[in-house]
Symmetry: C2
Subunit: 201 residues, 2 copies
C-alpha cells in the first residue's frame, strides 16, 4: 500500500520545496488534509497569486508585485549609493542589519558560465544603464563571499570601470559573536591581513 | 523594509505547514519565486485538487479520493481481522512494516473530552455498524501507546464488548509515549505478532 494516487501526488508536489524529503512531505500532506484544509486552500491560492503577479521591480529587479518596489519609490534614500546583491534574501538581510541608506540592484544569481548564466541573465546591461544615469558615486558589490560571488563582483567592476564610480566590497573578517576556534582558515587569514588599528581608549 | 505585501502573504501562508517557522517560510517563498515557478504552480493546483477531492473511505474512513479505498476494495484481505488506528499515517506505517493482512478502521484522532472530541468524532458508531455485520473475529486496537490512545482503546473495547469479538492491542515493544507513525518497521512488526488479548476492564 501507498496512499491514494491523489495523496501521493500531493506528497510529491511538496518535494519542490527546499529541504522537504519524503517523510516531511508526507507529514505536510497529512497535516493539511487532516487538520488544516482552510489553511491549505489559502496556501494554494496565495502561491498561485504570487506566481502570477510577483515579478521584478523595473528599476532594481527585486521581487515585487508592483512595477516599482517600495525602496526604489521612496525619496528618502541616497541615490549616490548603490548596493548590488545576488538575491532578494540578501537584500532583506542587509536591510534588517540596518545602517545602509542607499538603493539596491538585485542580480538573481551570479555569473556561472558552466550553467549558461552570463551577464544578460544577471541584468548587467540594466545595471549599466542605471549607472549611466550619472547619480551613482559608489557601488557596494555585496555579492556572496564565494568564488562565484567574487568573480561576479570583479566582472561588474571591470564592465562599469569607465563610468568613474567607486566600487567597494563588504569587509571580510571573523563574524561578530563567533568563536575563532570555529572560523575557517580562509576567513581567518583574510581577517588577519585586513587587521585594523586598535587602541585601548 | 519587509518584502512586498504579496510575498509577505506567501511567507505567512507557508506557516500553516508543520514545522515551518518564519525563516523556513521565507526560504520556501524565495525558492518558489526565484527558481521553481512551474513546481509552485503544480503544488498550488495539487493542494487545491486534494482538498476538493480527498475525503474519507466510506468503509474504513481512511483518506482517499475514491468512495471506497483500495484496501477495503480488494478481496485479498482477511475480513475476520480489523485493525483500528488513529490516523492514515499510522495505517501506512503498519502496511509498510508488513505482516498484517486484515482490514482497517481509521479514527482520525483519539477521544479527548477536553477538546470536545467524543465518540462521534472518531466514528465509533460506524465502527460498531461494521462489527455488527458479523464477519469480524478480532479487533486489533492499534491506537497510539499514549494515555489518550490507551483510553480510546478501552472505550472502544467496552462499547463493542457485546458483539463477542476478541480485542487485542499491539505488544509493548513500541515505546511508551511515542507515536506509531515514527516507529521503525521492525519494531512495529514484532509488536504486531506479539499482540496481546485486551479487555475493557
Ligand atoms: Zn526596486
Ligand atoms: Zn477503506
Amino acid at each position: 500500500m501507498r496512499f491514494s494516487p491523489l495523496i501521493e501526488q500531493l506528497m510529491d508536489a511538496f518535494r519542490v520545496l527546499p529541504g522537504v524529503g519524503p517523510k516531511t512531505a508526507q507529514r505536510m500532506a497529512m497535516h493539511l488534509l487532516e487538520r488544516e484544509r482552510a489553511g491549505g486552500e489559502r496556501l494554494a491560492s496565495v502561491i498561485q497569486k504570487a506566481i502570477d503577479e510577483v515579478g521584478y521591480c523595473q528599476r532594481c529587479r527585486t521581487l515585487t508585485e508592483a512595477d516599482i518596489c517600495a525602496i526604489c519609490e521612496t525619496p528618502r534614500r541616497d541615490d549616490a549609493l548603490l548596493c548590488v546583491v545576488e538575491s532578494p534574501a540578501d537584500q532583506l538581510a542587509i536591510e534588517e542589519a540596518g545602517g545602509f541608506q542607499g538603493r539596491y540592484f538585485v542580480l538573481h544569481g551570479h555569473l556561472s558560465p558552466l550553467d549558461g548564466i552570463g551577464p544578460d541573465a544577471i541584468g548587467v546591461d540594466q545595471l549599466e544603464a542605471r549607472v549611466a544615469e550619472g547619480h551613482i558615486e559608489e557601488i557596494v558589490l555585496a555579492t556572496n563571499p564565494t568564488v562565484e560571488g567574487e568573480a561576479t563582483a570583479h566582472y561588474i567592476a571591470a564592465q562599469l570601470a569607465r563610468y568613474g564610480v567607486r566600487f567597494s566590497r563588504l569587509a571580510y573578517g571573523v563574524p561578530m559573536g563567533g568563536e575563532l576556534e570555529y572560523v575557517d582558515g580562509g576567513t581567518l587569514s583574510r581577517a588577519f591581513s585586513g587587521r585594523q588599528p586598535f587602541s585601548s581608549d
